[in-house]
Amino acid sequence: MPTKPNIKLVKTPMTAAADIKHTPPAGAWIEVGRLDDIPRLGARVVCAPDGDIAVFRAADDHVFALRDQCPHRGGPLSQGIVHGHKVTCPLHNWNIDLQSGTALAPDVGCAGVYSTRVENGVVFLYTAPLPSADCSGSSE
């Protein structure tokens, strides 16, 4: 049975070329607080010089971080209701996947994603967004 080619692989050379021109912003791992400071199924905001970052805590204690701006009209995602690994924007109810930052179909768009990790109950955040492979590629 023939399968569909994986489109993401095709794009790799393009991304590499882009990287040479625009060096990605340097980031660093920083401690942002304790896991317990974030309510389960809730979020807190980390204020950064180039805009707020929303740090989410799912029911299973997975921690995610997104640019605090809905791809739709810029609503603060940190204020939304968290369910599963998703958040619903408080302004117009777009659902955003916390892992990838992409809007759930049929909506199309992407919020920047930041890496996080939790060690001994302390939450760390990498201050530069991930290269947004999912954002630049259409989810169609």
């Binding site: 309510p39 980390v46 010089p49 369910h83």
Partner: protein
């Protein structure tokens, strides 16, 4: 090793089941599909527009061959299954292909019934069922002149219209006197016939076909009474028969259709059946909406979830011949135990009939003006009592033509006409989405276009567009709509379970009712939280993470992420000190906008979230508390100055307003709740468009309920008149409590009362004095817990501190 699922029948019902199954369990089965037709899956209900030249075949394809390939589904086209060996669990086709199954799904559909008269097998005699028939008809239109359609039902008339559009001279032959007699009564059928005659279709009524005449090809049709008409093409559209031969030959029990139970299983539990080939609770269906409901249920069982049940469908029908509006649902003829309301305006070409029994709608026929079809169908499905609105019923819901859109003749609208005023979606965009993205339901249109997804006032228009675009038989949402996609239970069922099974937390509800998502969604969690705290005010803990941000932050979020702050002003009365406090706060925190609200309060807009507790602390110091202008809660009690100043006032409306507000503030409700008190019948406080309105009269107080302004203005109903202030308070508390306990989350009082009927509310509040007192007592009890100023808790007592300060600031 995956189990093997085989689908016989590559049509809408079978493939919809597969799609639903893949959404639930993408990797459970190796799937093989056999289709007897040459094409992949297409939208059969759009064959009429194809015939009429309004659409092409490509436009009605649902899943092309790549779709199957991408999902690893093996598809056999032109491949008719001729045998099912249930002992060895294997199907075989005419050309020798065979496939094993662990589960089998039969969706063989139906075929047109061909009258067994002499000549029925002549070339040029066809049914109207598939693409091949359409091709034959279009081809005939190129070479021949005169088409005869036998059968004046839905399908026959659509075929006749299509052939007419293809340039043929068309005669419809009907055995009875009433066209579409399964959907229309004689008055509506006459209007339809008149309109189709004006388009050029000829009718031969009361004619029973005796013979198809012709030698090498059809040349005419002869009737039992001896009449004869010439014909180059005969389309038989006298009904459909479920295709049961295959199932029967496999020993599966069949009557008119393949008999299935509520889980869509045949008598062999490994074998499922859906669509037009089945017979369920003695019914067979030929419309698309029931097929989709069956598909949903069947997929649920194939995915091994095992809880869904199909309980049959109520169907409504629309004929979609462009420019003809017709709607029919349920029992539209009635009997000696029912009665009917009729509106007939022949000059306008409008006819409406509603059949009523025991104060409930049993059926409806609409011709010429079908705007309210969806509303009647909803009242019918929900079995809503209509005795209180009977006098207005035929004039419609008045749903359309309110704020946001002025017109209602959707067929006549230009593509650029705006349908959804909230999200700026025009007709062309919606129609395009329906056809290109293959949408079938209101929910799908909402998800893809956002139309009707905000205030919902254009829902009727969007449903009309769906009906118009999809053709014959779009039907509205199923009767018992689950509260959200996380569950199959309705709001009312969830609520009953919370009460009867004494569930007191959201996880407990989700576990007991087998929620399909780990922690619900943004739609069900706030509803569950409300049901829990309103049912168990003492035992249930308010879950803030399940509240919408406004109720979590106790302020209204604005489009830029800032908040607005509205303090309470009891009864709309204020003092110089309060105004000074507000002015000082605005200055101190540089609040950009100050505005008066419609409810006689002052709104400060543009406050950053971090500043909120400080703003509240300063307001608290001046004696101002939360106005709950952000919540599903008591909002405001608007008053006029009343007897104290007004030369017309007969009672102290201002004080009554203050007393009511003191009693009711802080209570959480299914939706926002507004009150007003007017000091005389001039009603300057506009009490008759509030959820609970009080109007002073010389002899006491009139109590009005169920009004609202906004999207759809609804004037209150008069509940009763009472003499004393104590009674006003008791009736008010009881009414609020009844609404809190029985309305669905996000129901305003207006739709709630329209659903349960004013008589019911009167019975509970006015006639049942003991019940009223008990309701009022329960309200006061829950108020003992609710009346604590949330602003003071957060400004001075450190509640929810994390809500208002950032986790960290990066330099």
């Amino acid at each position: 090793m995956k189990e093997k699922l085989v689908l016989i029948g590559n049509g809408m019902a079978g493939m919809r089941t597969i799609e639903e199954l893949l959404a639930l369990a993408p990797d459970l089965y190796d799937i093989t599909v056999f289709g007897a037709e040459a094409q992949a899956n297409y939208n059969r209900i759009l064959l009429s527009p194809v015939l009429a030249g309004e659409k092409t075949i490509d436009e009605i394809m649902l899943n092309d061959e790549h779709w199957y390939m991408d999902r690893g589904i093996v598809l056999y086209l032109n491949s008719e299954v001729t045998g099912i060996d249930r002992n060895n669990r294997r199907v075989t086709t005419a050309d020798g292909v065979s496939a094993e199954y662990d589960r089998l799904l039969i969706a063989t559909g139906s075929q047109p019934f061909i009258l067994p008269v002499p000549g029925h097998d002549l070339p040029g005699v066809i049914g109207f069922r598939d693409i091949h028939d359409v091709d034959t008809m279009i081809d005939a239109a190129q070479h021949y002149r005169h088409a005869v359609v036998i059968g004046g039902g839905l399908l026959g008339l659509e075929a006749a219209n299509g052939l007419l559009r293809q340039g043929m001279k068309v005669t419809v032959v009907h055995i009875g006197d009433i066209l579409m007699e399964r959907q229309l009564d004689s008055a509506a059928a006459k209007l339809l016939r008149k309109s189709l005659t004006e388009r050029g279709i000829e009718f031969v009524m009361g004619a029973e076909t005796a013979e198809i005449v012709g030698k090498k090809r059809v040349q005419g049709v002869r009737f039992k009474d001896g009449r004869e008409i010439s014909a180059d093409l005969v389309v038989m559209a006298v009904g459909i028969r479920p295709n049961v031969a295959l199932a029967k030959s496999a020993g599966l029990y069949c009557e008119r259709g393949v008999v299935v139970n509520d889980t869509m299983q045949t008598y062999d539990p490994r074998v499922y059946a859906v669509g037009e080939c089945v017979q369920h609770r003695k019914q067979t269906y030929g419309l698309v909406a029931p097929l989709f409901e069956m598909a949903k249920t069947c997929a649920n069982h194939l995915a091994e979830l095992g809880w869904a049940r199909y309980a049959g469908s109520l169907t409504s029908t629309r004929l979609k011949v462009t420019g003809i509006d017709m709607f029919s649902a349920g029992d539209f003829t009635g009997d000696e135990t029912s009665d009917e309301i009729v509106l007939q305006d022949a000059a306008r070409g409008v006819y409406k009939k509603i059949v009523i029994k025991d104060h409930k709608i049993r059926g409806a026929v609409l011709y010429g003006d079908t705007v309210d079809g969806a509303w009647y169908f909803q009242l019918m499905r929900e079995q809503s009592p209509i005795e209180d609105i009977r006098d207005r019923l035929l004039f419609g819901q008045g749903h359309l033509g309110d704020s946001g859109h002025g017109a209602n003749a959707v067929a006549a609208m230009a593509d650029s006409a705006e349908i959804c005023g909230c999200n700026g979606v025009c007709k062309g965009t919606i129609v395009q989405a329906i056809t290109q993205k293959k949408l079938f339901t209101l929910e799908e249109v909402r998800a893809h276009t956002k139309a009707s997804s905000s205030c919902g006032s254009c829902t009727g228009l969007v449903e009309q567009l769906l009906a118009m675009t999809l053709g014959g038989d779009y039907s509205a949402a199923p009767q018992n709509k689950p509260m959200c996609p996380c569950t199959h239970f309705t709001h009312d069922e969830v609520r009953t379970a919370i009460r009867e099974r004494e569930l007191t937390s959201i996880p407990a509800v989700m576990q007991a009712l087998e929620w399909t998502t780990p922690n619900g969604c943004a739609s069900c969690r706030p509803a569950l939280n409300y049901y829990l705290i309103s049912t168990w005010p003492h035992a249930a803990r308010d879950d803030y993470q399940s509240r919408y941000i406004n109720e979590r932050a106790h302020a209204n979020i604005q489009k830029d992420g800032s908040y607005s702050v509205i303090p309470r002003m009891w009864g709309g009365v204020t003092t110089p000190d309060e105004l000074r406090t507000i002015a000082d706060v605005v200055d101190k925190y540089k609040i950009p906008t100050v505005k008066l609200t419609g409810g006689q309060r002052i709104d400060m807009l543009g406050v950053q979230k971090e500043t909120l507790p400080m703003v509240w602390a300063d307001l608290n110091k001046g004696g101002l508390v939360s106005g709950h202008a952000y919540g599903k809660a008591l909002r405001t009690v608007k008053t006029c100055v009343g007897q104290e100043w007004c030369r017309f006032g007969v009672r102290d409306s201002t004080q009554m307003g203050i007393t009511l507000e003191k009693m009711t503030w802080g209570s959480w409700m299914p939706h926002k709740f507004k009150m007003a008190v007017s000091g005389c019948p001039r009603n300057c406080a506009e009490a008759t468009i509030k959820d609970f309105g009080v109007v002073a009269v010389e002899s006491g107080w009139e109590l009005h309920v169920g009004g609202n302004g906004g999207v759809k203005v609804r004037v209150t109903d008069l509940l009763c008149k009472v003499a004393s202030e104590e009674e006003v308070l008791e009736y008010c508390g009881a009414f609020i409590q009844l609404y809190r306990e029985e309305a669905r989350y996000l129901d305003r009082t207006a739709p709630w009362i329209e659903r349960v009927g004013l008589s019911y509310v009167k019975q509970r509040i006015v006639e049942d004095a003991d019940g009223r007192k008990a309701l009022h007592a329960r309200f006061l009890d829950s108020q003992t817990l609710a009346q604590s100023d949330p602003w003071a808790e957060r400004a001075s007592h450190g509640v929810d501190k994390h809500e208002f300060v950032p986790l960290k600031r990066l330099a």
